[in-house]
Structures are given as structure tokens and as C-alpha cells.
């Protein structure tokens, strides 16, 4: 393709966005953002939730059509105004959203080539389609039969299918919005390697991520957004050991606009005696008889203590937690939950709540909240008894209590009657946390509480958890982010294949030790 305006010796950037401004009712989402992405580079876009990253990418990919924003977009030196997503795809730009857009019942081939089938007069040539899909799967390094339905793949593999689907459209610029948030460590590594491979093939990627570590590993440049403006663009170089030239703290400072002295709050209060104990907890798969998901898990929780549960995805952590929380998952086989040495009868969730157990689920949108209801109703849902007498709700009391809880959780909203769907991810998570704090829990189980949440909101959530522990409650923190486990927990259990593979006190816990325990498959003896 000829680009007359640029000398061939020094071609301009693949993408040049200048002074992009975009308003939503009541909010200026983008206030003069500029972004240059060079050919064959990985460009990270960082910023807190609400900084404007996703909006910027929606402008670029035509979700927000030309005319709904101001500023210029140039692709390979040509000014572009995309009217819709199809227009941006024709220009070689593809976006992969956090929520994958695959059709689970269809095969890999069908998904990858959806809309681009190898067909003659509308009749699909399956041989050619599978062959083309196989070639694309090889490029993304996914070794699966193209006829496999997508629903049978892991999330990580589905992500690769999404990328293959983008490659089928001859993309020059691939945008990935939080691609690793649902992936485990191995899958994340694989994805990041793939980005490097694609870069070597001359493709450019824009990577939106909250995970500083992975950004530093793969990106060539980092652009930081804050409050809808570009703060700075940093070039990342790596020395012979792969150490990046840009300091992580520098990036955080840019994102939050101030120094974050610590990413985890100090421990306060004393650790008391054992309050809760789990013995020999064993759970089978809900549909497949005899398939063990959790095997003989035993642990203790002391009052005032934050106990970590580290494990890779699929280790059985969520299954264990949900099963413990009123048998909400799978088939209970055996096991006991004790409080102060006495066994609790927990047949369903209502029993668990009554026993002082609270569970903040991993998937806040579908399990934690009623998205179309407001903050007030979501806050009180698990403890309606606190705002009602003889089954009649006192609406004023409910509003007051919900407002108080929102303030305590530092939820940013227009008020208690705001629909939670319209809140940012971090604020939604604070509402879920508030809902469970409202039950006055004695044991709070947090399942990946900070996934997809920006640095500032993370710290606030950590503070709330710490404060709860200081008040004497027990906290079980499930996380696949090891720095979070190490920064927050007083004691850590490692889990692998449904079993506890080790218990490590804070002093002895480090990433290597935990990772070794988390990957200790099979029988150790």
C-alpha cells in the first residue's frame, strides 16, 4: 500500500490518534487523548477504571461511530472515520473484548471463520474451512481439533480462538481488553508469548491490562491515561535478563496521579484463637458422578486473621468455597464446618448466612449482584431481616443503612438508588462487599475480590478487609495473584487438584514456595 505523505525510509506510526474527545451524558470520558502505535509493536494502555481506556478503544474500533467524538484517527497515515465495527475491521483493526464473543455451541472452525466461511454460493466447503481454521490455530499455537465445540474449551483456549478469529480478518492492529483476567498463569504466559510472536510477524497490538507484571514483560511502549487524558507514553526496553527499563512504581504513580507508598495496608490488631475449622471437606462434580472436585480439605481460621488460599484456576478453590457456603456447588460427600469447636448445620445458603458465613463470589456480575436493581436493594438482599420487622421492610431505614454502608465502602455513585449496572467494576465490587458486610459476617470468604479492578480501588478493598479482620472476623482470601496473597495474608494454604498441598506461615511464604505447592500434582509421596 502506498502512503504518499510519509517517506518510505521513516514510515509514520501504524495508528495515530490525536486529541480525541468524547462525552457521555454528564461525563467527559475522553478529554484530548493522543496515542501513537508503531508498526510491529506491543503498546500497553494503562489507567485506573474509568480513565478512558475502553472508551478510547471503542472510538478506534467504531463502536462509538465517527461523529460521536471529536479528534482525528489515522491508520497508516490515512485519516479514517469509522461508522461502525465492520468499517474498522476492513481497515485491519480488531478488538477482543473482556467478555468473549464466541458462540459456544459452534465448532472452533465455525467460530474462527464466522462471516468469512470458505463458501461457494453460500454453501460451505467444510474441508477448506477446517483447513483454513487449522492453519490459523497453528498460528496462535492452539492444538485442538477444529471441529471441537468451543464450549468444551478452557477459557484460555477460547481466548486463543478469539485471536485466531481476528487473524482470519487480516488484522494489522489487534486490541486486547484485559485478555488475561480470566486466565491462569500458564495460559497467560502462552498468550503473552503469542503477542510476541505476532509482533515478530509485523502485527501491532494494543494491550489493556491491570497487571503491571505482564505489561512490563511484553510491551514496547506504555501509554498511561488518567481522567480521560494522556499522562505520558513511556518506552520500555529490556536488558539482557529481560528486566524492563521502566519502574512499576513509576507507572502506578502515573495512573493514580500520586505516590502509592504501599499497595497493601498494614496489619493491625491481634490474631486470636481458632474460630472456624473445616474438616475433611469433600465434594463431587454436580453432574458427573464420582468425579472428585475437592478432596479432604481441612483448614483452620483464627479471629483477626486473613488466611490465603492460593491455587491455579481449576485447583478447586471456588468449588470448595461455594460448597462450604451452604452447599451451593456440586454434591457434598463429607466434611464438617465447626465454629468454636461445635459443628454447624449448614444445609443451604440461608443456614450459612445465619451461621455468620459470607461469600463474595468470583463472578460479581452474575453471582454477586442483581445488576438491574439499585445499590440499596443489593446491599440489603442478604440480610433483609435487618431492615424489616415481621416481614415488612422499612424503606427509610433501608435507604439509610444502604447509604451508610456505601459511604463505609467508599462507593462512588449518585446515590443509593443508582442501578448497579451503571457503576464501574471497582464500585460494583464494593457494593458486593458492602452487601456481605451488612450481614455482619464472622467468616468472610473472598473469591478473587480484586479481579479486573484498578490499583486505587484494590487498595480500598484491602483496607476494608483488613479493618474487618481487625474487628475480630475471620477472612479467607482466595486469589490467583500471588503478590496479593503475600501482601494481604497472615497464613497461606496452597491448593492443587482439589487438595490442600501445603500450609505456609507469612514469614516463610514467597512466590517460589507457593508456586511449587500450587503445582504439586499427584501424590507427594
Amino acid at each position: 500500500m502506498s502512503t504518499p505523505n510519509t517517506a518510505p525510509a521513516a514510515p509514520g506510526p501504524l495508528l495515530r490518534m490525536r486529541d480525541i474527545r468524547k462525552e457521555f451524558p454528564g461525563v467527559r470520558a475522553l478529554d484530548g487523548v493522543s496515542l501513537d502505535v508503531a508498526h510491529g509493536s506491543v503498546h500497553a494502555l494503562m489507567g485506573e477504571n474509568g480513565a478512558g481506556k475502553s472508551t478510547l478503544m471503542k472510538v478506534l474500533s467504531g463502536v462509538h461511530p465517527a461523529g460521536s467524538y471529536t479528534g482525528t484517527v489515522e491508520v497508516a497515515g490515512e485519516p479514517r472515520a469509522f461508522a461502525d465495527v465492520a468499517a474498522s475491521e476492513r481497515a485491519g483493526i480488531a478488538i477482543i473484548h473482556q467478555e468473549l464473543a464466541l458462540i459456544p455451541q459452534l465448532s472452533i472452525s465455525e467460530n474462527v471463520l464466522l462471516g468469512h466461511e470458505e463458501a461457494r454460493f453460500g454453501v460451505i466447503d467444510w474441508g477448506a474451512t477446517h483447513a483454513r481454521a487449522r492453519e490459523l490455530l497453528r498460528r496462535v499455537g492452539l492444538d485442538e481439533n477444529p471441529a471441537t465445540p468451543v464450549s468444551e474449551l478452557s477459557i484460555g483456549a477460547q481466548q486463543l480462538v478469539e485471536i485466531a478469529k481476528a487473524l482470519a480478518k487480516d488484522v494489522r492492529l489487534l486490541i486486547l481488553d484485559e485478555p488475561t483476567s480470566a486466565l491462569n498463569e500458564t495460559e497467560s504466559d502462552r498468550l503473552l508469548e503469542l503477542l510476541s510472536d505476532l509482533r515478530a510477524q509485523g502485527m501491532a497490538c494494543v494491550l489493556i491490562s491491570h497487571k503491571l507484571g505482564e505489561v512490563m514483560r511484553v510491551s514496547d511502549e506504555v501509554t498511561i491515561l488518567r481522567d480521560g487524558r494522556t499522562v505520558e507514553t513511556l518506552a520500555v526496553e529490556r536488558d539482557d535478563h529481560g528486566r524492563p527499563s521502566v519502574d512499576e512504581d513509576r507507572v502506578i504513580r502515573g495512573m493514580v496521579g500520586r505516590d502509592l507508598d504501599q499497595r497493601y495496608p498494614d496489619r493491625e490488631g491481634d490474631i486470636g484463637p481458632v474460630r472456624f475449622e473445616v474438616r475433611d471437606w469433600t465434594v463431587d462434580h454436580p453432574a458427573q458422578a464420582g468425579r472428585r472436585m475437592v478432596e479432604g480439605v481441612g483448614l483452620t481460621l483464627r479471629s483477626g486473621e486473613v488466611v490465603g488460599m492460593a491455587g491455579l484456576m481449576g485447583a478447586g478453590r471456588t468449588e470448595f468455597a461455594m460448597s462450604l457456603f451452604g452447599r451451593s456447588y456440586g454434591r457434598y460427600v463429607r466434611g464438617a464446618l465447626l465454629r468454636d469447636g461445635e459443628e454447624l448445620r449448614v444445609g443451604d445458603v440461608a443456614d450459612a448466612i445465619a451461621a455468620g458465613v459470607a461469600y463474595v463470589p468470583e463472578d460479581r456480575k452474575s453471582l454477586g449482584l442483581i445488576l438491574d436493581d439499585d445499590i440499596r436493594h443489593n446491599t440489603t438482599l442478604a440480610a433483609l431481616g435487618r431492615v424489616s420487622t415481621r416481614g415488612v421492610i422499612d424503606p427509610g431505614l433501608e435507604t439509610v443503612e444502604a447509604q451508610r454502608m456505601s459511604e463505609r465502602m467508599r462507593v462512588r455513585s449518585h446515590g443509593a438508588n443508582q442501578t448497579v449496572r451503571t457503576l464501574s467494576g471497582g464500585n460494583q465490587q464494593k457494593v458486593v462487599l458492602g452487601k456481605w458486610m451488612f450481614t455482619r459476617p464472622e467468616l468472610l470468604i473472598l473469591d478473587e475480590p480484586t479481579r479486573g479492578i484498578d490499583v486505587g480501588a484494590k487498595y480500598e478493598i484491602y483496607l476494608i478487609v483488613r479493618r474487618l479482620a481487625a474487628e475480630g472476623a475471620c477472612v479467607l482470601l482466595i486469589s490467583s495473584e500471588l503478590p496479593e496473597i503475600l501482601g494481604m495474608c497472615d497464613r497461606v494454604y496452597a491448593m492443587c487438584e482439589g487438595r490442600i498441598t501445603g500450609e505456609v506461615p507469612r514469614g516463610e511464604a514467597d512466590q517460589e514456595t507457593l508456586m511449587r505447592l500450587m503445582t504439586r500434582t499427584g501424590d507427594p509421596t
Partner: protein
Amino acid sequence: MNHPTRTSPLSRLRGLLRGNTRQYGMAIALVAVIILFQVLTGGLLLTPLNITNLIMQNSYILILAIGMMLVIITGHIDLSVGSVVAFTGAVSAIMLTAWGLPTFVVVPVALLLGALIGAWQGFWIAYVGVPAFIVTLAGMLIFRGATLAVLGGESIAPLPQSLRVIASGFLPGQTDGLHLPTLALGAAGAAAIVWIQWRTRARSLARDLPVPSAAATAAGSVVVVAAIMAFTYALADHNGLPLVGVLLIALIAGYAFVMRSTTMGRRVYAVGGSERAAALSGIRTKRTTFWVFVNMGVLSALAGLVFTARLNAATPGAGTMFELDAIAAAFIGGASAAGGVGSVIGAVIGALFMGVLNNGMSLIGLGVDWQQFIKGLVLLLAVAFDIYNKRRVSGSAPILLGLRTRTRKGSGRDAPTRDAP
């Protein structure tokens, strides 16, 4: 004054409207359609006789619409209500005529029969997990078949006066001049509503929550009193309040209270809003769904009794298409097919809207062909309007973006001047 109470009436109104556009929109549409037909019929619509007829004609659809609203709020549907109306009506008629049982025995037995039918369907839906559409489609066939079987394909008529009085009786009192008990009841009802309005306001004030100004509340009270008194005056001018009207008022007030103000109602909304989130909040979702269908069964039986009494006959074809009227009323009144949204008052407004439309079109001599055509269009447009509005509010409609930005900019412009002291 404390700062939380200092919200301007305009922004409060806008907030209210934004949250309840469909319901307010439908209330306004109801008033509009009443005025339209009042004009088109040359004043026939709002004569005391016709108002009484309106209540009696629409009573069973109103009863069904309340139950249907609950079913739709939980995210389900019930296609069987028309057949259940016919079946319970037929069984009641048999009990009254062939078995010679007294009405005071037949009524509770019929309601129990409705509860059992609801429990049967609720069992399949809640505990087995068969989609409600399938279960109640089956129910529609099963209970229509059962009706034909018990009636042997023939109608039963006439029925004892003790049953007929349910649908055609009036509040006792003198027969000439204005019916005083009706007026007294209206005054008491108006007083109760005004008292609740002011008590709610006082309680919110005590808690430092934002409240409308005293003038606005007073204006609201005046409207309520005027509306109720005008309505009861019209009825008192005829034969007084029909007995079925008393039944309806009790049902509407009771169900509206349960759905708005009790933990039971809140659980129904939660199950419809997100069944899994509700389950993880300690709500026994299956049990909730089951009881919603039991409730629908009881209300279907009640509608069956009222309809049979009004017709003074149990017929094999009774209640045909009732399910569609009830479903349409619920959706027009603000329910969402996705569940979790809707209100009892909304269902009542929806049913009245359809009722006035039917009645008005009949009065001006429009044929059944055009009536169906227009009702279909109204249902479609009401739901489309709601979806359009939701998109505008949630901001996920790129197609409507230009329009949205314009309207919101307009509303944003007057904001600073409003807040100025």
C-alpha cells in the same frame, strides 16, 4: 434545612420519571385514552352505569393480571390461566348444581383446587426445571381437556343466586338517591391514603432523607382525594360499589403492599432479577418460584369463580384467550420479559388500559376485527417504547446516540441555575 432535603422538585421529578418511565407513561396514556373515548363516545364512557360495567367486565382479567405480574417478575410465564379459569369454573358449577353443595363450601374448595393446579405446575417448573412456557402450554391443553371432560361438552346453567352475587352484587344500602356506604368507603380510603402519604414523608424527614416539599405532597393528596371521591360519587350515583369492586380493591392493595414492602415481595423480585445471585444471598429460589405458581393457581380459580358467576354458566369455552389478555396487561403495565421488573399497580394500569380500550371501541361501534388489530399494536408499541427508554437510560445504544446527547445536554444546561441560591 438539612442538605439532603434540598433537592429541587424538577430534578426529583426527572429522577422519578427516569426510574419509572413506563409506569408513569402508561398512567398518562390511561388518562389520555379515557379522555379520548369520553370525547369520541360523546360522554358515554364515564357515565355511572358504564363505569360500573367497566369494573365488572374487567374484574377477572384484573385478578389474573395481578398473578401474571408476579409470574413474569420471577422471569416465567403462565399460558394455562384461561384453561384453569374454565376448569375451576366448571368444577364449581358441578359442585353447586349436581352435588348441591352450598356456595360457602364451593368457593374455598375451588380456590384449593386452583392452589393444587398451581402446585402441580410449580413443581415441574421450580423443582424439575422444565421451562414454564412448556409446563403451562401443557397445562393449557390438560385443563382445557379436563374442562371438556367434566362438562361432557355441554354448558351448566343457571347457577344459584348465592354464587351470582359475587359478580353482580352491590354493596348493601339504600336503593334510591346517592349510595351513602359507597361514599363513606371512598372517604375512608382517601383518608387512609393521605395519612400514609404524610406519614411516609414525616418518617423520611425524621431520617434526613430527601422528601418532596409540603406543597407538593399536599397537591398529591388533593389529587388522590379528588380522584377517589369523583370515582365513588359516580358509583354511588348508580347502584353503589359492586361487590367484585371490593374484592379487587382488597386484592390490589394487598398484593401491592406485599410486593413493595415485604421481604416476601423482595425475594420474588430478586429471584427474577438474578436467580443465581438470589440463591447465593440465601433466598430459597425454588420455593419462591413454586409459591408464585401456587398463587397464580389460586387467583386463576378466583377469576374462574367470578367469570362463571358473571356468565351465570360454566361453558367448555370459558376463559379462552384470557392468558393473553393477562400477559398483555402485565407487559403494558411495565413488566420485563427478562424478569425482575414490574409492579402490581402497573398490572392494574395495563389491564384498565386494555379494558377502557375494549369498552370504548365497542361503544363507538368498532368491530372485533379492528379491536384486536389495535390491541395488538398497542402491546407492541408499549413494549418497544420501554426498550427504547431503557437503552436511552443505560447508554448502550449507539444508534440513538445523537439524540441522547442532545436531550441530555438540554437537561444539563439548566442544572447550574437550579442549584444557585
